[in-house]
């Protein structure tokens, strides 16, 4: 599973060349946005990050799970906001001036009726404790994640890397949102 994900990372890394997102052929580099969640450092592929917003109180949607904070108006589009801290059962959740919403582009691949694949893009805001940095991650340096007991289940982790001796857990955005959040929501709506 992890090796597959890493392979996927390599492939998409090849695309990154066009974006000038590399140093040389030996050391392909993907930029990641790192953020803090319950004291641990996590990273998202920066090409999927649309923008970072300060916390503003969203419109609450009653009768939805607690981790759905509601919806915000993002320049005319309605964007749902998910609190990852609540989704992964963190105890201490504060909303202050450091709390940010990372607006992500999530891809979802469905089998279309004629056997092809439909990729739909959706925009989701996720709440985290704070954004730390943008770091260059050499693809070679990504290690498959062991079965560790982090906040976020290792199912959604593409790999581990280090930046200045700090461990960063790289997350698979699509899998995290589609399976980690969506399927939970579907269950909640069905009840």
């Amino acid at each position: 599973m992890q090796t597959q994900a890493a392979a996927g990372q390599l492939e998409s890394g090849a695309n990154g060349i066009e974006g000038g997102n590399f140093v040389d052929e030996e050391k392909e580099v993907r930029q990641h946005l790192t953020f803090v969640l319950g004291g641990e450092e996590y990273g998202f592929d920066i090409l999927r990050v649309q923008e970072i917003k300060g916390w503003e109180v969203p419109t609450v949607i009653p009768n939805t799970p607690k981790y759905v904070k509601g919806v915000i108006n993002l320049r005319g589009a309605i964007v749902p906001v998910i609190d990852l801290r609540l989704r992964f059962q963190l105890e201490e959740v504060r909303y202050d001036e450091l709390t940010v919403v990372i607006v992500l582009n999530v891809h979802r691949t469905d089998e279309s009726e004629d056997g092809g694949q439909n990729v739909t893009n959706k925009v989701v805001g996720v709440v985290v404790d704070g954004v730390s940095d943008v770091c260059n991650v050499e693809l070679d340096s990504i290690r498959p994640a062991p079965d560790f007991h982090g906040i976020i289940s290792s199912d959604f982790v593409t790999g581990l890397t280090t930046d200045n001796e700090k461990m960063i857990v790289l997350l698979d955005i699509d899998h995290l949102i589609n399976s980690g959040v969506m399927s939970q929501l579907d269950k909640a709506f069905d009840n």
């Binding site: 949607i61 009768n63 919806v71 589009a77 309605i78 739909t120 989701v124 959040v181 709506f189």
Partner: protein
Amino acid sequence: MAFDPNSEIFHDFLQEAGELLEGLNEQLVDLESNPDDSEALNAVFRAFHTIKGGAGFLELSAIVELCHRSEDLFGKIREGQLQLTQEVMDPVLAAVDELNTMFEALQEGVEPASAPAEVLQQLEAMLHGGGAEAAPVEVVAEPEPVVTETVSHSAEDGDDDITDDEFEALLDQLDDSSEGDDLSSSAGFVTDVLLGGDPNDDITDDEFDLLLDALDGEDSPGDVPQAVASATPSPVEDQVEQVVSQQAPSVDTAVTATKKAAVKQESPVVPSKKGGHASKVESSVRVDTRRLDDVMNMVGELVLIRNRFDNLKQSISSEIVDRTISDLNLLTTDIQEVVMRLRMQPVRKVFSRFPRVVRDLAKKLGRKVKLQLVGEETEVDKNLVEELADPLIHLIRNAVDHGIETPDVRLAHGKPAEGTVVLSAEQEGDHILLTIKDDGAGMNPETLRHLAVKRGMMDHETAMQLSNRALFSLIFEPGFSTKKEISDVSGRGVGMDVVKTHISQLNGQVEIDSEVGGGTTISIQVPLTLAIMPTLMVLVGNQNYAIPLPGIMELFERSLVEVGKVGGREVVRLRDRTYPLIYASQLLDEPRIQSADQRVLVIELTGHSLALVVDQVIGQEEVVIKPLGSLLRGMPGYSGATITGDGSVAMILDIAGMISKKMGNEFLAYGDLGEAKGEGMAA
């Protein structure tokens, strides 16, 4: 012209022929029940012919072959050589299905393969002595030998063409023959028609096709009625037929022309009407629907900005600003309406596929069912037209499968063997009303009551309290099917609740009424458009919510409403009707408060009549419905979200869905207070 899926001609062909094909199903089923309708017969013939023509130009031989045979078949039917029976219709419908498959292939940019041999063979079999062939050809009276000679001679002329001269010669000979006078006038007519339609001297098969078009009034609307006027009654025609029927194909065509003229004579109004049509200048433009959607979205944004200005108006008190804003208001409303119109399409687009559905289903189930379509020209938003197709198909299948009885049962009950399903559409203010009415067995409320208890949906006591209307509505609940055995048509119990969910997602409502032995009527109300909706903005807790205005019947101050109790539950009584009192705060997980601003909304929805307490009414607002995105789609209780005047997001509530989700059977336990007399109410 080789096959090129990117050429413009190809796209025009797809569009045009696609529309014809869509109409064909309906026309064919029509024709089957009405075989003498010459107008319908011609329309079908023409449709095949036009598709064939276009396909021929694009060298799509598979389509040409299929259309050609179907066209021949209908040509024969038009000439009266073949009876239009169900045996004839089946292979034709199979051919149409095959054409549809080919079109799907074409739309994908793939050149379609030849039709399966059996489809072609069946058509061919019908074409060559499908049994019901009318016989005049065999009984040809001895024609004048001279005539035969001439005709044969002309046919052997190397090509099949008859030149004008030859034709004249033929006419002369006919003239000289014993049948003399009558024939000459008839033959003269034939020439008239031929010359009127096509100035060329040669009459080949292809040109004759053109001529047919001309007869339809597209090229020479003036000539046709004249020709019809000069056409002589049938005995002459028979004579011509007797003389020439076995001769060269070109002469056959002349006979067809006479026949055609005779057909026209039966309805002389048609050609002139058609002619009027043709002379009208084409004044429409085809627009990509995505562009229309873009325009609609932008108008939506404009409406939001207008709403914001409306809000601002209160803080800026200046007469000129006020006036400008009200001008803007008027204009936006106009634009909104015009754009909405742009996207309107007649419901015919959905309706046209139903006659075929009913026909096939009735045949399969051994029923006799007639489908009547009413108000096909009623226009609704394009998206809505598409969204309505599925629920309607479901309801119509249901009406045929569950509603209409088998012919012997019907006869035993003193009803005509053929059942009727009426599907009608009409506009009522800002919404559209669709009804599906059958004259079948109807539903027995007692059976439903019994089933509800048996299925564990409620206890016996609750069931006993339900009114007939509430019982009928039960069939829209999940897992409730009244059909005893499962058929592959319906009866799995998944259909009706899907219909209801679908309709309420469109902000519509379904209502059902039934009478044992008299049939069932299902009415669907949907808004004209999906993009903009009138709502009532209310405050619950500290958040604004939009409640769709259709369905809200009345509005009262909380303090003016008398609250009573029935079975421990709060109810209000208004003008002989009793409504359960529901707190919006309870539905929305907000603390219940008491305030002077509170209002009671009387809401009437399918199976859900209630009095809803909201904390404050802000006002009426036209809102633009924004999609919630795939993450939150399918969330029960909401039909969307919108952006309010101050730029924040407000959720649009689906009250019925919210109540089902939040209260479920508890709400049903209120019984149908609306029809109860409200006895024992503590005032």
